[in-house]
Amino acid sequence: MSSRSPLLEVLAAVAAGAASTAEVSRRTGLDPDRAEAALSALAAAGRIRRVLVLAGACPTQGCRSCGQSRGCASAGAGSLAGSGLSAWRVVAR
């Protein structure tokens, strides 16, 4: 069991591509309500934000030039994370 704080675990999960509350909950082991609270707290602190996926957020040159393709819900082999219209993303600092 990691000794990291739950918030940092959630942040790491989003950075690794978890895009929905359900994904974060599964990856971190937090129950969904607590996962949502963590996501809200992180969003309030400006570390993550919700983005629209499949909605022109993608660059014209395709995913290769996109800095976030590793966590992108629209790209990546086999990953259908965040099916739906919005997903969590880490804010680049």
């Binding site: 990691s2 690794a16 994904e23 086999g78």
Partner: protein
């Protein structure tokens, strides 16, 4: 038995996350994806219903995962009431990755 052979509605437990069949395990990305979704050794699952094309929707706790037939064939399960073998006594399978930093 494999997950494909399990009866619909029966509570079963995964014996090994993504087993070897015909000598070929599923590719690592798929195995990792399964583990991420909660399909690991010891996980209790239940077949919700069969889908067109030979696959099934599997209930893992509160979640529902749709699996195609080839995945169902690659996953071994046992009825939930049967005693499960001690962990570590089976062929290793990829567990959830630890991510650092």
């Amino acid at each position: 038995m494999t997950l494909e052979e399990a009866a619909t509605g029966l509570d079963v437990v995964l014996v090994a996350g993504a087993d070897v069949r015909d000598g070929r395990p599923p590719r690592p990305p798929v195995a990792r994806r399964l583990a991420e979704l909660g399909l690991r050794a010891g996980a209790p699952v239940r077949i919700q219903n069969r889908t067109s094309g030979g696959g099934a929707i599997v209930a893992v706790g509160e979640d529902r995962i749709a699996l195609s037939r080839d995945i169902l064939r690659a996953v071994r399960v046992e009825p939930a009431s049967a005693p499960t073998p001690a962990p570590g006594g089976r062929a290793t399978q990829p567990g959830p990755e630890r991510r650092d930093g």
